[in-house]
């Protein structure tokens, strides 16, 4: 049973210093993008197109990480039944969907000049799109189900189902023959690119943590308001 705490024991998380962390995250993002764009020499094949590397790849990495967070909180919700875990999973799912959409969009912008096509139905692109659609479904599900406990259980199921796709997306270029190239590694990428890529991956990570945290705060406030409303309807305390 989801513990339906009375409002008095429901303590929404406080924003504390998170706005400062957010300012830091976005400044760090701007700085690392600037350094990457200014310092990295053009690639020998694709010239300045190479700079999409610094947004497409971090978006994909952080997307995977965010969906792993969804998996973690969804499992913990099913295990412990705590409403806050459901809200944390939902917040991560929102942000993960954002990064998933970014990955697809930036990949298409890269594909057109580099491959000659915006899209190809290969295993990598298709599985990434499936992942995106599952999480769009997850968010729609949450919007349609009004009963909190039922919503949380169904969401947890879909969240786990969706997150299972992440390793499949990652391995798709190795398991199946695709247009998308296999993963790069520091051995296949010049050192000067690797450094900028890592800095930007951290920038995306900080932005992700910030966004998930703020969405979580908002979701908790929302639920606290619901609880207060219910208690008032039941005669108040």
């Amino acid at each position: 049973m989801v513990s339906r705490e009375p409002p008095s024991s429901w303590d929404p998380p406080r924003q504390g210093r998170w706005p400062w962390f957010g300012a830091f995250a976005f400044l760090f993002l701007v700085a690392s993008q600037t350094v990457a764009i200014v310092t990295s020499p053009p690639d020998r094949d694709m010239g300045d197109l190479e700079k999409i590397l610094y947004v497409h790849v971090p978006a994909a990495w952080i997307m995977s990480l965010t969906f792993a967070v969804v998996m973690f909180y969804s499992l913990r919700y099913l295990w412990k039944g705590r409403e806050t875990d459901d809200l944390a999973a939902a917040s991560a799912a929102e942000v993960g969907t954002l990064f998933n959409g970014l990955t697809l969009l930036l990949g298409m912008l890269w594909g057109k000049p580099a491959w000659g096509v915006w899209w190809a139905w290969d295993a990598r692109l298709t599985s990434t799109l499936v992942l995106f659609l599952i999480f769009v479904g997850y968010l729609s599900l949450r919007a349609f189900v009004d009963e909190p406990e039922r919503r949380a259980q169904w969401s947890a199921a879909v969240g786990i189902l969706g997150a299972i796709n992440v390793p499949i997306v990652y391995m798709s270029v190795r398991w199946w023959r695709t247009l998308h190239q296999v993963q790069s590694s520091p051995d296949t990428v010049a050192g000067i690119y690797v450094l900028s890529l890592r800095a930007n991956a951290f920038a995306f990570l900080f932005v992700m943590i910030y966004l998930v945290r703020r969405r979580y705060e908002a979701a908790c406030l929302d639920r606290a308001a619901d609880h207060a409303e219910q208690d008032a309807a039941l005669g108040g305390r």
């Binding site: 020998r44 694709m46 299972i164 190239q181 296949t188």
Partner: protein, 152 residues
């Protein structure tokens, strides 16, 4: 009510796990290593007559030295190789910017009985390597020299 629900939770978890397993099996169990975006030249040739005149994608490396570009008729011909077999490809229109000797490509079209692959779409397959040009090379310009050098 609280008690009955807390007893139900293990069943909910079990149900979820079962649904996830079945869904995953349905979605990916049916796919095996045969899900390929393109055939290699060797695979295409191995199909024999079954490989003729059907829509297919062929992928491999542009065999160095085989690229011919006619800038009047916009006809582009080259050979695709996987190191074992080569297939002659005929295409029209300007190729993607990154097309050059030795680059990975995937062509869409039909393999004719004359053993020429008629391409209706040309995609460049990039490797997982990113490097600045070596001293003396200039980025991107290889494409221009290729087009100019091998023209008419």
């Amino acid at each position: 009510m609280t008690e009955s629900k807390s007893k139900r939770r293990p069943w909910v978890i079990a149900g979820v796990v079962a649904v996830v397993a079945v869904f995953g099996w349905l979605l990916y169990g049916g796919l095996d290593k045969n899900v390929v975006f393109f055939l290699t030249p060797q695979e295409l040739l191995a199909k024999g007559t079954a490989g003729y005149d059907v829509p297919v994608r062929l992928g491999g490396q542009v065999k160095p030295g085989t690229v011919k570009w006619d800038d009047k008729t916009l006809r582009l011909t080259f050979e695709v190789t996987d190191g074992k077999s080569d297939v002659a490809v005929q295409s029209s229109g300007a190729p993607p910017q990154m097309f050059r000797d030795g680059m990975g490509v995937v062509v869409e079209g039909r393999f004719g009985r004359d053993h020429v692959f008629n391409s209706t779409g040309l995609m460049v397959k990039h490797s997982n390597e990113y490097h600045p040009p070596k001293p003396g090379e200039k980025p991107q310009e290889m494409y221009k020299t290729l087009i100019k050098g091998s023209g008419s």
